[in-house]
Subunit: 244 residues, 4 copies
């Protein structure tokens, strides 16, 4: 049997500490809720890390022992250390999977990997979102069926400032009429990156079974497919690749 | 000054002949309406062709003299000759642009170039469509602004059975909540292909100024960027490419 | 434990019957050699099919029971029935993997799925090919290292008339100086397609351990990721997707 | 008549000042050679900028007045100010074209836009490179024919640590047998980016007429297709997009 997927759930963990309303939804933090859900699956070994821990909880040891990282941040992107971002980025390029959630679109790590603005338009009135499955055979959509309906969400609308997705899993519509590419896959180096839109701190999105199903599928999809690929730029002599 | 873009507007032209209601919207056929609109631009030389003409109006001479073809079909895709489709396909691969409109998603030529089912779900209740510009700098969206609102349309919904678009210009939402990739670019061989969703025969979509603006932009975007590239598979000797 | 991958190795099987020299290399046909190699892996259940069998060996039963198909053809592409090609294409779009080998670039099925000419330039003087791994973390390159060196091959050179590959696994150079995109992945519908260049009938390419390793990897990579996705274009009422 | 393309040729300009051998090849700097070649075309208005000028010659005024930037750097990538890189990156995302030459693959600006390592293997023995045209109809290959042969070059070999190119214009082979994706297009935000491999400081590559032809074509191809698209993330009310 193969070894479990080592998952690190990273959370900014500020809203939950400051707002009783948000703490009521996520009493152990968004990371706690996600970790508890993923830990139900025997093929996953889950830990968490948060902004206010030393090195944001992302020491070299933790990074080396992570197969897939989840990233949730919102109000404190700017407080994330550039050095830590550089390390996470290197690990993605070596093969670590990265699942970026909701407001993580504006995180340093996502912008560093995309190279683009990652901007969008938005509105917070608690309107309905329908996430349509655009690619029914995609492993990340396994078990979802036609769509996911979320009754109350923050709206994110196009244009979304990203490179054209390599795999288009979900596209959302909102009650107000906007649309959004809400489940997108890219490969960067040896790592797979999945951006998934749902997840505002003031709604119980991460208690939704279908949302958790997608995140679970995404962790499996983004697990490394090879041993870590170290970055190198060797100076090679003529004929170096020939055997014998 | 560069020579005009030679446009051929192809239309199945059956609904307009059979239905007085549709003929009232498009008295000279959908092709006539589109040709009249494009002909207003001095950089375009426009002709039309229809299914019931000999060779569907697409003789070798017409094909050789076409830079960009528009394709509208709906109820008679099966009557289009395979031989004509093969010729149109070859011209696209040589560099001719192709703009496929609405129900043309199920045309033989579009399916032959995509290789996929090109299926979708649909509903005809005259609901509102909003076409969002997902790529504001794209030449096909020039002059459109944020979106196009069409008050009454047939609905097309995801999943749309296409290869992942190379350029994503528009994404639509519908009053009923569905979404659709409604303006998509692919390159096949030397030819650019643009699929544009609006256009049902029973609505005056092709009289909408913004829709016509997009089609005009698309003709310019899909014009050939090089002399026709003939298909060949030469047997070449060692060193054939070295000069002198 | 998961069930084995059901592999069907399809071979034109004409050269081997006509040429003693080729029969000496592949006494049981190219399909026999490939099937024997794949059958060594307990996760694969392998059968073969050839052009001169009824329905080319690809009955509805065989197609329904195939997870991944290998395709090798060369001198008799034109004899493959359009009806069989249509069935194979439908199965790929439903999720069946397809691994197209060497001269299969000009097969009806590959051209139907790509939509392009699939042309290239070529030369048969038995020169050396080096297949470079362009994507070291790709599962199809697992175990290959830096490159594969084939001492005697037919040359295929760019331009290769294909859509831009979605994943670029191998790029070849030849002793004569030409280059070729020699290991390319696309998704069409629910199916993954891998084109792999090596494999001329007059060289013992399919006895090369690294070539067989790549083909084995490709079978695993292209296995279906979901239950077959049937083609459909439903007419849906307003609100059909809402539960309850 | 349309206004000229405003080109800024940026050069690190260190090798030429330190090495008499390199200064003999590029007496006015690589930037001077490139600017002189581009200035022959009446549709281009060319200026230059170099590392040791204030703000590396890339003031806000210069950036705002640049349609397409060429970037050549090699030994001093680390000396380029992060603030200037951030400004150039923003201009690319707004629509400015960027043509990255040779060792510019390791520049801060290219890595920031790609998000990947941009690593490769290399060798400097003055071997022959053949740049094959993989996409004969591409505007950047206009006038090139089959290939470009450069008798003496530094070698760059795969794997090249880049996102999969959106358009694959050139692929190179080297005398030593290596291959390289040597002419690649991506879109990031509103800007087009072209990476072009030739160009080592110790060879007269930028005096080669075909290389200059490609660079000239690339400038035209990467010119902005729209007015600059400012980055924004507006908070929008319900129904904001509806007219009247």
């Amino acid at each position: 049997m193969s070894s479990p997927i080592r998952v690190t759930v990273w959370n900014e963990y500020r809203h939950e500490k400051r707002s009783p309303a948000i703490a009521a939804i996520y009493p152990e933090g968004i990371h706690g809720t996600l970790a508890a859900a993923l830990s139900k699956h025997p093929d996953m070994a889950v830990r968490t890390a948060t902004l206010d821990e030393p090195e944001h909880g992302l020491t070299d040891e933790v990074l080396a022992a992570t197969d897939v990282m989840l990233w949730w941040g919102h109000c404190a992107h700017g407080e994330v250390s550039d050095a830590v971002v550089a390390k996470v980025r290197r690990r993605v390029l070596e093969g670590m999977g990265l699942v970026v959630l909701h407001s993580g679109h504006y995180s340093k790590i996502f912008k560093a990997l995309m190279g683009t603005t990652c901007s969008l338009c938005w509105r917070e009135v608690g309107e309905q979102e329908v996430l349509w499955v655009a690619d029914p055979s995609h492993p990340i959509a396994e078990g979802i069926g036609t769509c996911i309906i979320l009754p109350n969400t923050e709206m994110y609308g196009e244009p979304f400032g990203i490179p054209v997705p390599e795999e288009q899993v979900f596209i959302s519509s909102f009650a107000g009429g906007e649309v959004f590419r809400s489940g997108n896959v890219w490969r960067r180096g040896a790592g797979r990156i999945f951006y998934f839109r749902p997840g505002h701190e003031s709604y119980p999105i991460f208690h939704n079974e279908q949302v958790l199903r997608v995140i679970t599928n995404a962790v499996r999809y983004c697990r490394p497919t090879a041993a870590p690929v170290a970055d190198k730029a060797p100076n090679v002599p003529m004929g170096w690749f020939r055997k014998g």
